[in-house]
Structure formats: structure tokens, C-alpha cells
């Protein structure tokens, strides 16, 4: 009886040890097994109604620098053809833009710590991604564009190149924006088909400006008028005259152009829009006069400086203010609860030469 019981114990123990060993083996394998799985590119369904129009953020950045509010707290409107994408670990925003013939571009917003490298290092990294050789600081200075936002100055670069074995429908160009705050480095990047990136460049730069502005609670710097809401402004169309170059707009501007002037100077042309009536004509004209160092004029005298300009689409008010060296010509109109200002400022002679082009530009504007 004693031996029988011992045998039973032995058998039970043997099986138990086998099960235990198998369990330990499974547990060891568990940590060294390579897994393959598929995840959807589509954004997760969100039932929160307040998130419908906000920038999608279906993941948070675990090491996002402190003090930078997550993009989810800002309602930045993105272009309608940008499809929100699932976020990778550090992405605070991710979009896919689709063009013709399978062309795609990937748009991202990444926030890293303040020691994420200087502009040149990152530009050379992006050039490396495009299979291009690195550039020097001097070359960077020539090609980089600056964008003023309420968060600070953003550096924008436009890089082209197709790495070996890359699909030209998906690669070939990087348009990137980068800025460093006291505790974070923000990267905005659009990478994809070269032609598609070109068509999306304006939208991308406007989106960068809007996201930067949304990061600051105070919003854009205050001036006489209410802060502009270019991100929510309706889309207007125009035809830029030959010789004008569209440049990245600042946070206050809807669009910006540059036209060459003599002696290496430039004419700065801007489109600005605000909700409301944008203040009285006298206030605006005197503000522009003040910017040129001219004394204000009486409200009654302002009327004589404003001339109407009828276009195929609407009626504009225009003015021409000449200072000692610089001159400003401006046109503005109020419609659908907004005011639109179109303004060109530059050397006297250059403005005189460009005035006819400016009028053509105003006439081409379609709301």
C-alpha cells in the first residue's frame, strides 16, 4: 500500500514537472518571439463629437516635451483632401494626401526635445533620405525661407531628389518646416510625389502657421484689428502676375508674394483677412501712414484718398500712400462678414512700375 501510494505520487509529480517545464519554456519563448501583424492605416473611430473637426491625435507622444499643449487641444482645420492617418509613436498629426496616378504625400507633425539638432543637421538628414548630398550653412541660408508665427520663426525648406529604388509616386520631394522653442523642437514635414507636393505647398505652409499659432494660448500677436482667422477663412482664387513669387505667409497673412525691385529690393504683397469690418477706412489708412512714418490725416480728408475699383466679382476700395522712399498701394473689400486687405509695399519707383500689375491682380481675385 505504501509503495502503491509512492508510485502514484511519483506519477503525479512527473506529470506536474512536465507541465511546469512546458509552462516555463512557453514563458521563455514568449519574450523572444518575432510577431507579424497588420494594423489599419485608417484613423480610429472616435465618438467624441468635439473631436470631429479637430486634428486627429489617436496617440499621445509619451516623451512630448512639457509645456507644449497636445495638438488635440487645438482646433486646426486641415485641407479637405488631407486624410487623417493613424499616428506613429511621436507623431502628433499625420495625414495622407492623394493625387493623380497613385501619387501620394505624407504630412506629419512631430514634436521632439529641444536638443533635436540644428536646422542644417536636420536638412542634411532629410537630403540623405532623398539620396542627395549634404549642403553647407551658406547654401542653407540661400534656400531656406522664414515664416513668422506667434510661436516664433519657422524655417521652411523645399528639397527634391529621388533615392535609389524609390517609387516616384510616393517619394521625390520633402517640404519641411522646423522651429525650436525653449523646450521643444517642432518638425512639420510633407514627403511624397514631387508634383503633388508642389500643389500642396501653399496648404502645407498655411497649416504649419495655423498649428504654431494654435500652440500659444494667446494666439497671434494683437494689432489694431481682431486677430485674423485665416485657417477658417473661405478659399479665394487669384492669378498672380508674372514675376511675382508666392512666399510663405506669416501667421497674420492669408497669402504673401514678393516682386523684384531695382537695386536688389523687393515689393512685399500681402493678403490679410479678418472677421468683422476690420475697423474704419480712416483708422486703417492712418495706421498704414504711421507704418511709413507719415502723419495721420483728418477723417474727412481720408475720403479723398480712397478710390473705388469695380472688378468682375465685387467692389474694392483702394488707396495709394507715398512716403519719402516707400509707397503702399492697397485695396480692400468687405463681404460675407469678413474684410479682405490686399496691400503692396515697396520702393516708390518699383511700386509705380508694379501698380498696373497690382490692379490686374485685384481684378483677378474671385471670392
Amino acid at each position: 500500500m505504501r509503495i502503491g501510494c509512492a508510485g502514484w505520487v511519483m506519477r503525479i509529480s512527473k506529470y506536474f514537472i512536465l507541465v511546469l517545464s512546458a509552462a516555463l519554456l512557453v514563458s521563455c519563448e514568449k519574450n523572444s518571439e518575432i510577431k507579424v501583424y497588420r494594423v489599419s492605416k485608417a484613423p480610429l473611430e472616435q465618438s467624441a463629437p468635439q473631436q470631429q473637426d479637430a486634428m486627429p491625435t489617436n496617440t499621445s507622444a509619451p516623451r512630448m516635451p512639457a509645456g507644449l499643449p497636445p495638438a488635440a487641444e487645438t482646433a486646426v482645420t486641415t485641407p479637405a483632401n488631407w486624410e487623417a492617418q493613424p499616428l506613429s509613436q511621436m507623431r502628433q498629426a499625420s495625414f495622407l494626401v492623394k493625387g493623380d496616378n497613385g501619387a501620394v504625400a505624407d504630412v506629419s507633425f512631430v514634436s521632439l526635445g529641444s536638443a533635436a539638432g540644428n536646422v542644417l543637421e536636420n536638412v542634411n538628414r532629410w537630403l540623405g533620405q532623398l539620396g542627395q548630398p549634404p549642403i553647407t550653412e551658406q547654401k542653407l541660408g540661400e534656400m531656406a525661407q522664414r515664416l513668422q508665427t506667434s510661436l516664433g520663426e519657422v524655417t521652411i525648406v523645399d528639397l527634391a531628389g529621388l533615392p535609389d529604388n524609390a517609387d516616384p509616386a510616393r517619394d521625390g520631394r520633402i517640404i519641411a518646416a522646423m522651429m525650436t522653442t525653449s523646450n521643444a523642437t517642432l518638425f512639420f514635414k510633407m514627403r511624397g510625389n514631387a508634383d503633388l507636393a508642389e500643389t500642396q505647398k501653399g496648404d502645407f505652409i498655411r497649416w504649419v502657421a495655423a498649428v504654431c499659432d494654435a500652440q500659444t494660448q494667446a494666439g497671434p500677436a494683437q494689432i489694431a484689428e481682431a486677430p485674423p482667422q485665416t485657417a477658417s477663412a473661405p478659399t479665394i482664387k487669384w492669378t498672380a502676375p508674372e514675376g511675382w513669387t508666392e512666399v510663405p505667409p506669416s501667421s497674420m497673412r492669408y497669402a504673401s508674394f514678393s516682386a523684384p525691385a531695382q537695386d536688389g529690393g523687393k515689393i512685399d504683397i500681402s493678403i490679410v483677412t479678418f472677421p468683422g469690418d476690420g475697423g474704419s477706412d480712416a483708422d486703417n489708412i492712418n495706421r498704414w501712414r504711421g507704418q511709413m512714418g507719415l502723419a495721420p490725416v483728418d477723417a474727412n480728408a481720408v475720403t479723398s484718398q480712397v478710390a473705388p475699383l469695380k472688378t468682375g466679382d465685387t467692389m474694392f476700395s483702394t488707396t495709394d500712400i507715398a512716403g519719402n522712399k516707400t509707397r503702399t498701394i492697397a485695396a480692400w473689400t468687405r463681404r460675407d462678414g469678413r474684410v479682405w486687405f490686399f496691400k503692396a509695399t515697396g520702393p516708390n519707383a518699383a511700386i509705380e512700375k508694379e501698380k498696373s500689375n497690382f490692379v490686374k491682380f485685384i481684378e483677378s481675385v474671385r471670392f
Partner: protein, 385 residues
Amino acid sequence: MLHKFVDIITSLKLTIVCLAAGMALIFAGTLAQVHLGIHEAQQRYFQSMFVWWPPEGRGFRIPIFPGGHLIGAVLLINLIAAHLKRFRWSWRKLGIHLTHAGLIIMLAGGLFTDLFAVESHMQLANGDAKNYSEDMRQTELAVIDTSGDDLDQVTAIPDTVLRPNRVIDHWSLPFRIAVRNFYQNSRLRMLSQAGEGARPIANQGSGAMIAVEPVTRATASDERDVPSAAIEILPKDGGSLGTWLVSDSLGAPQTFACGGRTWMIALRPARYYKPYSVTLQKFTHEKYAGTEIPKDFSSKVTLIDPERSVNRDVLIYMNHPLRYRGETFYQAGFQKDDSATILQVVHNPSFIAPYVACVIVAAGLLVQFGFHLVGFSRQRRRAIA
């Protein structure tokens, strides 16, 4: 021989030795937490068959003491064997049997929890939705094929596989991955800031401009290691696509093309994807008036499960976790500025074992002491009579 073996595994001496060894192990493991941190100490002392000296990674190692798994397993075998050997059915021993059964369930449950439970975290800012949780203690090299229209194919290689000179050849990849360097904990600095003599360990991507400095393992409970590795991509049809730095602190994944497809690589916390998503609607952190002392913190989340047509709001707060599909979401913490909530996600198939064990042990003790009490009362009554 057989008798001797049976005598050993069923002896009370073995029980005492195991209990004493367990006490010594707990004492040593607790002291080791000072230098190793709680997680590493748990791994080395309690979740291992042996405690090794010197620790792994020094070329050789010697087992110097039984680990928690071994002591627990021997104790369990000893308990079962001794109970079976001495088992004699009797109502008077019902309490003893129940107590032993409870202890066996508790020990086995503890072992299975150790082996099969998975703990991870889900960090959500207001409005965030996630369908995966992240393991804060394990990292993985995610190699992502992004060429699909709707789906990304992810090949997740655990960091335990990333060891120097190892070549990873997997069916899902048109290239091999040769691990050139691996650092369990590291600090990354731009070459321009790293001083003279600093050299990159990669020649492609952002890693070509970054110096990697190995640092000692993180031991504080609120710190994490920052693993980094240098990996060379070797297409299976020959050649090399260069050496890339992958690191948990790099953040953005890096992209390269191979086999006509675009790939992304990133070293990131291991992810556990779920067939449902959790969206944080609101995180509430209340404090006692006039103080910074937390009074209550809770997370209102929306659970969306398309497969089961579930779309409901749940309030998760202290001692009120969300249990769904075998996983439990506890309110574990929050970001210091209240910008995000941190939910602990626990998948533990044997979570019920301790509850059952406690009930059985309590019942067994009640029965056992009940018998003694009744017997004692009868004797006393007889003596008085």
C-alpha cells in the same frame, strides 16, 4: 532509491528549507532593489530559476542561489506530494485538506500569473483614442511595410533578440537585419554637441549625426531605460543598405526602400494591439481644497468595439477598473500637468486564483478550528458534568 526520493520530496524538512530559502531570497531581493530597481530585481531574484553571479552579459555566470520560480515550484511539488502521501480521508481532517488545497491553488496561481500575465500601459490625452497598450519595460524593433493601401504590416522583433553580431532572418522581410551594437540603456547626443572623438555608430539616416553613449541601467521606478541599437540592413539579394541607428529616444521612425517597398524602422515600447479602442473623454483630478493633495482622479473613457457593436462610456477610478475581453484597465496615474491619464492594462488569465484560494483557505481554517472548538467544548462540558 524510489523510497528515498519520495521521502525527500514529501518531507517536512524540504518545506522548511524552501520556506527559509524563500525568506532569504525575499530579503536579498529587497536589498537588491536599491541598486537594480524593482523590475530588474524581480526579474533576477523572483522570476528566475536561479540567482546568477555575476549577472548576465559578463561572458560567464554561476548560479549561486535558487530563484523564485524554482523555490515556488519545489514548494508546490512538496506540498502536493506530501499531501498525497499522507492523504487519509476523514471528516475531521476536512479543514486541513481545504487549507492545503487553497495553498496549492495560491502557489500555482502565483506561478501562472508570473508566467502568463501581461502588464502594460495606455497613456491618453483628452480626446485621444488608442487600440493598443505599451509595455514600459520591453521594447521592440518595429519593421513596418508601409506599401499597403489600407494596412501596414508590422514585424515586431523583441529587444531580447537584438544582441550584437546576431543576424535576424525572417520570412516577412526581404532583407536580413544584422545587429552591430546594442545598448540596454543609452544617451543620444548630436555629434556637434558630443565633443571631439565622438563617432556615430550608424552611417544612414539621422543616426549618422548622433553619438550614442551607453549608460547604467535605470533603477528608479519612474525611470526607463533608453535602449538603442545599430542595425545593418542586408537585402537578401545581396549588398547592404547601410547601418541605421534605432533608439527609443529617436522618436520618429526612419524610412528606407527595399524590394520595391517602403519600410519604416523604429525601436519603441512593445505594443499589444486590441480589437477595440479606448477614447479618453475627460480626465478629472480633484484635490483637497487649498492643498495639492489628490482627492480623487478618474478617467471617463469611451469603449468602442466594432466586432461586438459596443460603444459605451465607462468611468474608471480607484478600485473601479474597466474589465473587458479578459483585460482590466486600472486608473494608474496621470501626467504631472494633468495633460494625460495613464491606465494600467492587465491581462491575467489566472487572476481569479488568489480570490478562490483565499476563500478555500479561510473555509479550511474555519472548519479545522471549528472542529477543535466543538471538541474542546464537549470535553469541558463533560468535565463540568
